[in-house]
Symmetry: C2
Subunit: 280 residues, 2 copies
């Protein structure tokens, strides 16, 4: 049976982020993609020119239509925009008892455009974090969610622990915005921590990186992978997608969503290009 | 360079039709997909539960954002909904001088739900047909566009000729809804007619067939195929996608968008499973 995944996110007309990046990633993983659109953007690789809000009741109507007929094996959320949509999505996930939920707490786009109202940040923490199997903040988002500055690996470890203490099944703190030649990602699932480090790929084509990663992890879960394995495969998929970016557009261009998906059928093991260590 | 294609259509939350089917088809063809959302639907394989209209000005804003930065090599339109959106899309295609435009004159969904206001039908004929490289009506849509009952191959030939006379670069009249064991599709491009016949595949999983076909043809054009070749490959891709439908949902389920794409690199020739003849 073809696994089904659901993305609940904004629409990026430029095709590199939002539900478009998610659906392309689901395709790469050979998972059937469904989608609940939370907002429309008029957007390209240079930035967001406009946003059309979707009524929270219509967000919920889409969610109900999908899950009552095409129940997803995994779910991700991306841009939610407002408190009312966070509330509608939280209620829908809870009432339908959706599992394998990956929360990408999208707040600001790669271009710098704000994608979540400031007053919705605490709603994400209070309503969505406790429902998720995994939350995937970058450094800025982790700082907002934990109320602390995050300047290095130790801070990232503490932030991951704190988000699990706040109810997340696990947390992946993405260090891509740290200074330095290496990219550091910290994972904690309540049992142990893992840190992945990789050489940084110098590229301006990073539009939709966070969307693509959370979609890839959800797709891995939909395919039946264990969470650490789905995370590791997702990180490697994104690395390949950045490395192969097609160079479209004159700003932050899209990734290569035709990148090969790492093997998911084996038990979790270090990726061939990743340096992995287990701590604590 | 990775070719870019643009779909201007509705969003199907269930993932089998609309921009979702189009983006999945673009992925299958290894074309970079961009999208302008004209309407949101709360929909699954059983039908359309709700429609959220998008303001025509925001449809145009999405179109402008995409084509100014990610200029498409081919375009398709699907569900447009209202006269005002037909007008906005026609103006955008004309002013940006977009080429290789495939017009799928969507009026009614497979489930029977109406997707175009009755008063928008003449706007499609007057504003969009003259802009398109190809129009792809089914029998009901061809009957509405030409004002004539269409009961068989001769009527289909006449309808194709009439739509070309009304300004379309070419017309493909899809005979899937005709009675009988064979499916008959009639193509006319102002020079010659071609008729493809294929055994009918008995299946209730035909949700998004028209979306997928027009997206496949646009993707073939974006990849550089000549129009008759792109049409023939698109028909064969849809045949394979129906044959491989994954059986999801309890109504009209989606196609198999992971179906193999027919070879596009050779000159137009009969598909390996198609009986083709050229007439007139």
């Amino acid at each position: 049976m073809l696994p089904i995944a659901l993305t609940i996110a904004g629409s990026d007309s430029g095709g590199g982020a939002g539900i478009q990046a998610d659906l392309k990633t689901f395709c790469a993983y050979r998972v059937f993609g469904t989608s609940v659109v939370t907002a429309l953007t008029a957007q390209n690789t240079l930035g967001v020119r406009g946003v059309h809000a979707v009524p929270p009741s219509f967000v919920r109507a889409q969610l109900d239509a999908v899950v009552s007929d095409l129940r997803p094996a995994a779910v991700k959320t991306g841009m939610l925009g407002t408190v009312a949509i966070v509330e509608a999505v939280a209620a829908g996930i809870r009432e339908h008892a959706l599992a394998a939920y990956v929360l990408d707490p999208v707040m600001v786009a790669t271009s710098g455009d704000r994608l979540l109202d400031a007053d919705a940040e605490s709603a994400v923490l209070e309503l969505l974090v406790p429902l998720c199997a995994l939350v995937t903040p970058n450094l800025d988002e982790a700082a907002i969610l934990t109320g602390r500055r995050i300047a290095g690996e130790d801070d990232m470890r503490r932030a991951a622990e704190e988000l699990v203490a706040r109810g997340a099944g696990a947390a992946l703190i993405k260090g891509g915005h740290l200074e330095g030649d290496a990219v550091l990602d910290v994972f904690f699932d309540g049992l142990g921590q893992r840190v992945w480090t990789r050489p940084r790929i110098p590229s301006r084509h990073t539009h939709g990186t966070g969307c693509t990663l959370s979609a890839a992890i959800a797709a891995g879960l939909a395919r039946g992978a264990a969470l650490p394995q789905a995370v590791e495969a997702g990180l490697e998929f994104v690395r390949r997608a950045i490395a192969g970016a097609p160079g479209l557009g004159s700003g932050h261009g899209p990734l290569d969503h035709f990148a090969p998906v790492p093997e998911l059928s084996t038990a979790a093991s270090p990726g061939d290009t990743a340096a992995t260590r287990t701590a604590r």
